[in-house]
Symmetry: C2
């Protein structure tokens, strides 16, 4: 695992040169340090943060082991795998750009060749694993982001070869990471033309640069897309334009289909949708990682802002209830989304394993749809919360949060595109509700992961709080989801009578209805799985604090649906709304003594966190001064010019 | 006005060198172009955006004149002033950093000397106006941002001079723009010590650098605070530490107070609060400008995103109702906040004029409080909406919105600190509710600007919609505000019985109560003044479209309070909530044909907008390609190393 890592890091030093803020983070530094994770020791130097540490009602190391899972503690034989996972985790929080370059080469490009290709691509696969080539993944085109079937690049059979061509500006491949300067090979999606007709979208693995000169091959133009903010500036997001570029027939990734030397198209797929479901896995793997980005954003944001909030000796800003209210819910979000993502990833790995092993069951088809619906809902929910958390953390740190040395704005820039790649959040929410609507037409809604089981139940109106607020929140969600299903479908039927097509109608029922439905479906699943996780915690103190963490997350996300719950008829009068909000305030206040301890559970070590405000020792002001003193009494060249300018003005005026 | 402008721009070229993204915006370029504003002509080249332009129900130029006000059309004698205002406006949308440097020298430093000083500061004032010196304003200290009375820098009388001293790290002056490398003079706030005791916070104007060498004077250390994102990186936000620095007695800005050569403190102020109210004006002037930043952020965000939304020839994303819903409310926000800010600024100028002319009436004291309450509420409301707009616009442009050439992330970074400076938004909201609570103890709540007149009325519950949705929204706000006043005060009294001090109690009633109250108070005033502005529009087509613009803004901001309205008992059942939300969707849809025309009313010219996606001609894809083609077939030096690395790996593996 260490070897492909090196390739991903290869151009880091150069890429970083573009962004002066990152200059000091050198490749050697990462390689040396990144393997020494999870060995956090607290240096008890500053009284105040340590005072807050002592307030925690639980043991930090115990809870960390519960959240990280057993493998880190007991699974000795897999220690290398665990180390590698920790390295990827660390790289994600340290620099998402480098993480992406590694992931795009080894996982996205590599996985595509592995899962869409056959034996004849074994040599390409070996070269990928041995880092003899650098791969990139070309799907998106300039004017088609989220609709894969509309791609316009063509690969036309001609005299025993494929001819790749870009018919217009809008069909130029773009956003492919690693492409601009480094990639030697690419997985390319194109419309396959042979036997005089288009056979649909297919994937190919082609060489794009000469291995010695690194110049693009004939018929290929490649370039960078220009500057981007944050970590992504060094990712080499490139564009590629084909002008009748020729490649051999074996470049077709031919699992389930092929083109013979005579140009005959053959396929073992029974339907278009069966072909698509093979591609699905390759496209969905990214979303799993992005859900974790939402958790990471919450964790980094609140680590920095909460530690800074206790840095001031007299009356730390942490003591203001509003400051707690602004930050602690996002800390809870970091925990609950992380817990959800780990379970979801396990399901996904199981699913992929069954697909790879050739299983073709009804249940697996169901699972494919459920994974699609859930990832399309959870990715927006997680990433929006992460971006919100980073914005709120910056504001909660006041002006000092705006300094680059706080890393908060840098983090927001770096996490920002997570809302867009692998499916723009609002677009994929629509996919989620479409799957739910289709499911509702079936006789039952039981699903392999159980996230839709309740869809046909008739939920009850609010009649008072139970002794478990999370169960109360889940009940409200079930009613809300039922209400949104009903209003979406009512308006769908109403619009159908006007003669509009289903594409238009689905777009017209998004606002306040199908869009909210998908969000609520995702949040319900996250809370449900959180509840099941917390129930299974054996150690009592960890369990108790995690119950409150889950409660606060649940109340915080439900609060945004309160108005719709009133409109739906779930509740009336002040009881429910007041009850939810006072629980919110009380749970938040009850977690205040645990907040710094909870931060310690999830926070990366200081050199990964890279924030002057958020260091573990709580000495934010000393670290700020270190930054300030670097710039003491500077004398840039223009000062002389300015002095001359002012003197000249003064002379001119005295002459008048 | 052109002259101080030059000083502000003086170091721009150097400052820009820090940020490569800005390199191409040279000083000469700005100076040449910035005066040629408001001469927009449309080049009718691309069909699609022009198709959308034709859909507008109103005349763009007529509406622009209505929004900009008569002075630009009729006031020929003030043409220079109008040009200067336009230049500042343009500079604000072009580069807030440069605008800030100009403003800090001429307006903040200059105004402080003018309004807090006396005749003996006339020469300093002349030098400021003639740009013979460069000024900065030093109030904030490292560990004290928003609480001015807690400042710790001291100015102690000693042998006929003041000795300035920084007692500890937390008392170092910071965030002073222009200070790091350029400022020769500074207005400094310090605790004045003489006659053996502290006389409270006073202001001084002192020289900080040698005019020839530009080195800090003895006993002064100055430095930059380090890198910041966006436009603010070139602002020279500096820190200053005093080590027994000596300055003459005349440096005290001595309006209403003085220290004699013998060290005797004399004052004509009758009370501490009278002294504070003199300083108030200087501190409040900034907030006016920041409210406009909120409007500018909305305008720039929606100009870029809406024009890009109609760029794609087949099925522009603008046609999706969700896309319209994500953007058009913020466009309306730009209009309504701009209208509000102009009226508020007129009130403020009148107030300042009366203060300067020595008026000391009951009404003026009332106006001072109302200005404070309203600016403390409107600044958060405006800037939060602006930041939201920029985030939503970036997302609505998909991946291409993330490219630096879209300018959207850059704008978000540049507007981000508006939420913090001149009072952190959440902190100043508390000031607003405190003034409201105090007002409620008086026999009536009539105020000079009329924004609190309704506070003691007993508003009615919802009983059905009228034929004016804006009036309906205002009625709901009145009920909401009354409810929030009641719950805040109820909880205040409850907490008082527990023996807590009023500072703590005021903090504990913020979440869901006093905090929301201030926001609602600000939004109500913005809508009310919007309504009065729209009522006065004579031209019918402009009036009709502006009625819908105001409706959409009003519905959009009220929607966020729907849950609280249900909890308050204002409404029950689905009617009100469903009514508000369906009006929201319908009004938004009704504005869709006008959206591109409305953008044209407020959008700055292309060279100021500086976005590849948002250009007036709608040719976003062509402009993107211009950026892409700059990077075609680049061959950075590391490519050779990478080729060698890959070849070596290949050789090693073939040897095995």
């Amino acid at each position: 695992m260490v070897v492909p890592f090196t390739v991903a890091l290869y151009t880091l030093a150069e890429a970083r040169a573009i962004n002066p803020a990152q200059k000091n983070r050198s490749r050697a530094f990462i390689l040396k340090e990144v393997m020494s994770l999870k060995t956090i020791t607290f240096s008890m130097t500053t009284p105040l943060i340590d005072e807050y540490r002592k307030k925690a009602s639980f043991d930090v190391n115990t809870l960390r082991n519960i959240i990280d899972g057993e493998e880190f503690v007991e699974a000795k034989p897999q220690e290398d795998f665990a180390k590698a996972l920790a390295a990827i985790d660390a790289l994600e929080t340290f620099d998402q750009g480098t993480a992406a370059r590694y992931f795009l080469h080894a996982n996205v490009f590599g996985s595509a060749v592995r899962s869409l290709g056959t034996d004849r691509h074994a040599e390409t696969l070996r070269q990928t694993e041995q880092n003899e080539i650098v791969g990139c993944f070309c799907l998106t085109e300039v004017s088609h982001g989220s609709n894969t079937q509309k791609m316009q690049t063509t690969a036309t059979f001609d005299k025993g070869e494929f001819v790749f061509h870009t018919p217009n500006i809008g069909a130029i491949k773009c956003w492919a990471g690693n492409l601009s300067h480094s990639a030697t090979h690419a997985v390319v999606f194109a419309q396959l033309h042979t036997e005089g007709r288009c056979q649909g979208l297919h994937s190919f693995v082609i060489q794009v640069r000469d291995m010695k000169t690194m110049k693009p091959l004939p018929g290929i133009a490649i370039g960078d897309m220009g500057e981007k903010p944050g970590d992504w500036n060094g990712v080499e997001n490139g564009w590629m334009k084909f002008d009748h570029h020729r490649a051999p027939l074996w470049t077709l990734l031919n699992k389930g289909c092929d083109v013979t030397p005579e140009g005959k198209y053959v396929t073992s797929f029974k339907s278009q949708s069966e072909k698509q479901s093979v591609t699905l896995g390759t496209l969905s793997v990214g979303r799993m990682g992005i859900i974790m980005k939402g958790a990471n954003a919450c964790i980094l944001a609140t680590t920095i802002a909460l530690r800074y909030s206790v840095a001031r000796q007299e009356m730390p800003v942490f003591e203001y209830p509003l400051q707690q209210y602004r930050l602690i819910p996002y800390l809870c979000g970091g925990f609950i989304i992380k817990i959800f993502q780990k379970r979801f990833q396990n399901h996904f790995v199981e699913y992929m394993w069954r697909v790879m092993s050739g299983e073709k069951s009804e249940e697996l088809a169901e699972m494919s749809k459920e994974i699609h619906a859930l990832s399309a809902a959870a990715k927006p929910v997680a990433t929006w919360m992460g971006i919100e958390a980073l914005g709120e953390a910056r504001r909660a740190c006041g002006g000092h949060g705006f300094l680059t040395c706080s890393r908060l704005n840098d983090l927001r820039e770096s996490f920002d595109p997570s809302q867009t790649y692998e499916g723009e959040n609002n677009m994929i929410l629509q996919q989620s509700s479409n799957i739910i609507f289709a499911k509702l037409k079936e006789p039952h809604t039981r699903t392999p992961m159980g996230t839709m089981n309740y869809l046909l139940d008739t939920p009850k109106q609010f009649s008072g709080f139970s002794n478990c607020i999370v169960e109360d929140v889940l009940s409200a969600y079930k009613y809300l989801i039922r209400h949104l299903v009903k209003t979406s479908m009512r308006d769908y039927e109403k619009l159908k009578t006007t003669g509009k097509d289903s594409f238009t109608i689905r777009n017209e029922i998004q606002v306040h209805r199908a869009h909210t439905l998908s969000i609520a479906y995702g949040e319900h699943a996250i809370i449900q799985w959180g509840l099941e996780f917390v129930r299974d915690i054996a150690e009592q103190k960890s369990k108790q604090v995690m119950q409150r963490v889950l409660s606060l997350y649940s109340l915080f996300v439900l609060d945004k649906h309160l108005a719709t719950l009133y409109i739906s008829g779930y509740c009336s009068g002040p009881e429910f709304g007041d009850g939810i909000r006072s629980s919110l305030r009380l749970t938040c206040a009850s977690l205040a003594p645990d907040a710094i301890g909870l931060v310690d559970v999830l926070a990366p070590p200081d050199f990964i966190l890279g924030s002057s405000l958020g260091a573990e020792d709580g000495r934010a002001y000393d670290r700020l001064m270190e930054v300030f003193l670097k710039h003491e009494n500077e004398s840039p060249p223009f000062q002389k010019d300015l002095a001359n300018f002012l003197a000249q003005r003064s002379n001119n005026n005295s002459k008048l």
